[in-house]
């Protein structure tokens, strides 16, 4: 068998160094990034909301309810960006087998799922006064819903394995399969949407005053900083949990809490 012909474990030996060195070293770095991002998120959110609520004018057509856009659109964007980041770390993890990459993808998944859920919730609350129904089968809302399914699938699969190592790689593979399918799903939902409804009014597509736009952009960065901070926090927690395993294997590297 090719596999056992020379089952020398250079693939594993090569990883030996990576596996024990990088998580322990990354721990303080993650701590620093986390602190910076918390600060960034708070400041940007404060500024964004202030401009959004106290500087931006009332919208001509939708009155005040459009202000939900300041969290609806950033949440939808982050749901997509976090999924792509997750898929990226999964690809790195599968290619190099470094546990840290899998920790990153596991750290990102719950936040991404929350972002998708928030986008759907705010989309529904926005839809009610604007189109009369809580749920509109709008192409982007539907795609965010499917993205939420992909997140749930990833998290459920990662939890279905007792063996962490296997769970990491299995969930990484389904994240990649999902990521490859996202553009196709977006296209087919778009096709399906125009088939049935014709171009429906897109939330936020009406020409937005620049001040509204700046508020939304600031909020997007605030969301981004928030996601990074939460991810770093989860990575640090995972490092504590998993490195405890490494100590047990005799790596001898003390981990300061």
């Amino acid at each position: 068998m090719a596999r056992t012909e020379q089952q020398s474990n250079d693939r594993f030996a090569g990883r030996w160094f990576w596996r024990f060195a990088s998580p322990a070293q990354f721990y303080p770095v993650a701590g620093m990034i986390e602190k910076i991002c918390w600060g960034l998120a708070l400041v940007l959110a404060a500024v964004g909301l202030y401009i959004g609520f106290f500087r931006a004018p009332t919208d001509a057509t939708q009155g005040e309810v459009y202000r939900v856009i300041y969290i609806h659109v950033p949440a939808a964007w982050m749901a997509m960006i976090v999924y792509l980041a997750m898929a990226f770390w999964c690809a790195i993890g599968l290619a190099f087998g470094t546990r840290l990459s899998f920790m990153m993808s596991h750290a990102l998944a719950p936040t991404g799922a929350i972002m998708a859920a928030v986008a759907l919730w705010t989309g529904a609350l926005w839809g009610r006064p604007t189109w009369g129904t809580y749920w509109v089968w709008d192409a982007r809302l539907t795609s965010t819903l499917i993205l939420l399914f992909l997140y749930i699938g990833y998290i459920a699969l990662a939890a279905a394995f007792d063996d962490k190592k296997k769970g990491d790689r299995a969930s990484a593979l389904i994240a990649l399969v999902g990521a490859v399918n996202v553009p196709i799903i977006y296209f087919s939902v778009q096709w399906w949407n125009t088939l049935h409804q014709g171009a429906s009014v897109r939330p936020g597509s009406s020409s937005m005053a620049t001040v509204m736009l700046t508020a939304m952009m600031i909020m997007t960065f605030a969301f981004w900083a928030y996601c990074v901070a939460v991810a770093m926090n989860r990575v640090r927690t995972q490092i504590i949990e998993r490195e405890r395993g490494a100590q047990w294997l005799g790596s001898g590297k003390g981990i300061k809490p």
Partner: protein, 210 residues
């Protein structure tokens, strides 16, 4: 020729046994001993290439065999790996076919005869007894593609009656005599005639066994 160097295998984040190193040439009977759950089956699966090792290396050094696509090792596990709905002949055709080898009926009958179950060739595996199933599974040891293969047997004597156990022991001795390497795990004390025997004891992993 098989060479292991500080092999550690993990299951669910825990190392199964202390780093293992040994080397065994053709004609050696390697007996793997260890308490239940010590990792005997997992070790055999790793030797067969079904499981990857956490650290350390497993080397199969093979002299170039005349038969183009012959196997390095043949693994007969606890579960016989046969579908109840298929007959012994079909199982054989599939097991060998999957490896790209075309197998003739004569070869199947000869192999089954070695384990004394030639008459069951067209019986559905589901209708056979545990012992008969085991013997059909073991008959694969005599396929032409396994001519120079090492035998990896996990508890082969289980479910076999006394006469068949002796028959299998003789086959193992014959294989050893013609230079095949046999790695065997068994709780039953079956004496097998073998010049060189290597006893491997899988001891639990202790902290500090780097």
């Amino acid at each position: 020729m098989l060479e292991l160097n500080k092999v550690v295998i993990e299951r669910g984040g825990r190392a199964l046994f202390a780093p293992l190193s040994f080397s065994a040439a053709g004609g050696v009977l390697v007996r793997v001993a260890g308490v239940n759950g010590a990792g005997k089956t997992t070790l055999l699966r790793a030797l067969a290439g079904l499981t990857s090792v956490e650290s350390g290396t497993i080397h199969w050094l093979r002299k170039v065999s005349p038969h183009k696509n012959s196997r390095t090792s043949i693994f007969i596990g606890h579960s016989n790996g046969m579908k109840d709905a298929l007959t012994a002949r079909e199982t054989w055709a599939y097991n060998e076919g999957v490896d790209g080898n075309f197998v003739t009926d004569a070869e199947i009958e000869a192999a089954l005869h070695k384990m004394g179950v030639a008459s069951l060739i067209d019986r559905r595996v589901g209708t056979l007894s545990q012992g008969q199933k085991k013997r059909v599974a073991l008959s694969r040891l005599f396929s032409s593609s396994a001519a120079n293969a090492a035998w990896l047997l996990d508890e082969p004597f289980v479910a076999l009656d006394a006469a068949t156990q002796i028959l299998l022991a003789q086959h193992v001795s014959a294989a050893l005599a013609r230079g095949a390497l046999v790695v065997l795990t068994s709780h039953q004390a079956i004496d097998i005639v073998a010049e060189r025997v290597l006893e491997i004891e899988l001891t639990p992993w202790k902290r500090g066994d780097a």
